[in-house]
């Protein structure tokens, strides 16, 4: 019943695409002369390419998977996530909030900002370590999501999927190690073009096949009003919507991968233009996959309802591992041969694009913000590039191991939001107060970083280890409540500690 249309022609399209990315990695290696070229492409990024790479790196396979899963489990209510992300990015683009001052300071990473602003190398090292640890944890399930997608859309068995995923991660390592940010930008561009056209076509075909009114009626039958109104939907509500808006600001202005794009821009004017246009991309990266998830929901419901997505009573499965599979299996049944290959290639490209961006990002943070500042003598450019490449390989090995044994226990999107919060709750406080409040001090910044790590309590396996599951259930405390509370406490903590333990006058004057 759940067989896929994936054929040999589709495999050829996917293989041709993967071969192309290797060629790009080899080709651009000649342009890499120093760390500035390797990490921020010599700050030569222009608007159109900036938009493509910004959306390309954010519209990844993992985003598509968790967004589709949200569409499947909450219906049209899930659209509020994209709407909040779009509004938040638009506000950042119009005001230049955080990103413009960062670009003016010409930093390459956020921990570098910590050192420049607070004149504290220890703050940079601690901040860099927390950022990299949270970031690596955040991408820990990317491989798992990718494997679910590949097995769902192609129909190959689990053993074969492991080999396919291993080949892909090796390819990503290959071209990222060689070409750094230049190859990342070019592959992001190609991926943006292929995936955008593929997804737009998928939406058109899905609506043609199922019909808009059938979709609306189907969601109404399955979820009633909760399927449309995010303020009354189970597990959503007002606080969740606020959390989504906050995440929207974070993902475009505080999250290191987006900040790297802003720092790679040619000028401040380009940064603003990139954010203005990318606001649409930040919205669409949720909206389209969520819509496909909704189409999968109604499609499988009308077929039976089909197991394992629905139980015998017609209720949607509450197993996140199952609901994650709905979108790829639906695509495998919906799309014709050829187009299926293009969409799969686009999605796999998106998977690789996200990996290259994140791998480069976290490995460069470990090199530039942790090891290099710790070294007694300043490391040479060559040594830093070699070390960054070594970190790329080590993180990739971690991803393979973590992706195999971690028990998800919650929607993928919520896992990613919480794991990211370990870093960004503290970082947001430091950026906000460090950039816009003269009296922000180093001690205050340290306290914000440490308070931010409390967000780890939002992860279900951590709650289980601390015997907090029943308590949180009884009190109605969800992961997003923890994230919002920790963010608030981090800001208050930084203000209090900055007032109690101010910096020496000289340090503040230097920044001003």
């Amino acid at each position: 019943m759940l067989e896929t249309n994936f054929s040999n022609i589709d495999w050829i399209i996917v293989a041709a695409y993967l071969a192309g990315t290797v060629v790009i990695g080899l080709w651009v290696n000649r342009y890499i002369k120093g760390m500035g070229d390797f990490l921020v492409a010599g700050r030569s990024l222009r608007t159109r390419l900036g938009i493509a790479t910004m959306i390309g790196s954010e519209l990844g396979l993992v985003t598509a998977m968790f967004a589709a899963q949200k569409g499947f489990t909450t219906g049209f209510s899930a659209f509020h996530i994209g709407l909040m992300a779009g509004i938040a990015t638009l506000i950042v683009g119009v005001t230049g909030f955080i990103v413009v001052p960062l670009r003016r300071m010409e930093v390459m990473t956020i921990p570098e900002f910590y050192e420049k602003r607070f004149r504290s190398r220890s703050l940079r090292i601690v901040g860099g370590f927390i950022l990299a640890a949270a970031g690596i944890l955040n991408m820990g399930l990317f491989l798992k999501a990718g494997a679910v997608f590949v097995s769902g859309i192609t129909g190959i068995d689990d053993d074969a999927v492991k080999w396919v995923m291993t080949v892909m991660i090796v390819l990503v390592l290959f071209y990222t190690c060689l070409g750094g940010m230049v190859s990342v930008i070019i592959t992001d561009y190609v991926q943006f073009v292929v995936l955008s056209f593929g997804l737009l076509l998928t939406c058109v075909i899905a609506v043609q096949k199922i019909g808009w009114s059938t979709l609306v009626k189907g969601v109404e039958k399955i979820y009633s009003e909760e399927g449309f109104n995010p303020l009354v939907a189970e597990g959503v509500g007002g606080s969740y919507v606020s959390w989504m808006f906050f995440l929207g600001v974070i993902s475009c202005a505080v999250w290191q991968t987006a900040v790297m794009r802003a720092c790679a821009a040619e000028s401040v004017a380009v940064v603003k233009k990139m954010y203005l246009w990318s606001s649409l991309g930040f919205m669409i990266r949720f909206l389209i996959p969520q819509f496909i998830g909704i189409c999968a929901l109604v499609y499988f419901y009308d077929m039976g309802p089909v197991e394992p997505f629905f139980d015998s009573d017609g209720q949607v499965s509450n197993d996140p591992e199952v609901t994650m599979k709905a979108m790829p299996i639906f695509l495998g049944k919906l799309l014709p041969v050829g187009l299926l290959g293009i969409v799969a290639a686009g999605m796999i490209a998106a998977f690789m694009s996200t990996h290259d961006t994140y791998l480069l990002c976290w490995s460069s943070v470990l090199t530039e913000d942790v090891v290099n500042p710790l070294a007694s003598e300043r490391m040479s450019q060559r040594a830093r590039i070699v070390l960054t490449r070594a970190f790329l390989v080590m993180i990739a090995i971690f991803l393979v191991i973590w992706g195999l044994w971690y028990d998800l226990g919650q929607d993928l999107w919520d896992y990613m939001a919480v794991s990211g919060a370990i870093y960004f709750t503290g970082a947001f406080a430091i950026l906000l107060l460090g950039l816009y409040w003269k009296r922000a001090s180093t001690t205050g910044a340290f306290s914000a970083l440490f308070i931010g790590t409390l967000a780890v309590i939002g992860l279900k396996p951590v709650q289980a280890k601390l015997d907090l599951v029943d308590y949180f259930k009884e009190k109605g405390i969800e992961s997003h409540h923890i994230g919002l509370t920790v963010s608030f406490i981090a800001i208050i903590g930084m203000i209090v500690m900055s007032v109690v333990v101010p910096d020496q006058k000289e340090r503040t004057e230097n920044f001003n």
Binding site: G36, G42, A52, F76, M283, R382
Partner: protein, 62 residues
Amino acid sequence: MEGWIIFWGALLLVTLIIYTVLVLYVSLGGVADIRKMLKSLSGDENSEDSDSQELDEESLES
């Protein structure tokens, strides 16, 4: 609920149309930007810090 259905439908439609235009604009213009980026990198005299020279020298030596 009717209001939400209309709102989400309109949001999806408008976004898809604008996104299609954006994809066309970026797809065509991005090629020119790639050329300019590579040109700027190949003639990168702004390789400001001395470490870049150091890297070149090390590359030549090896």
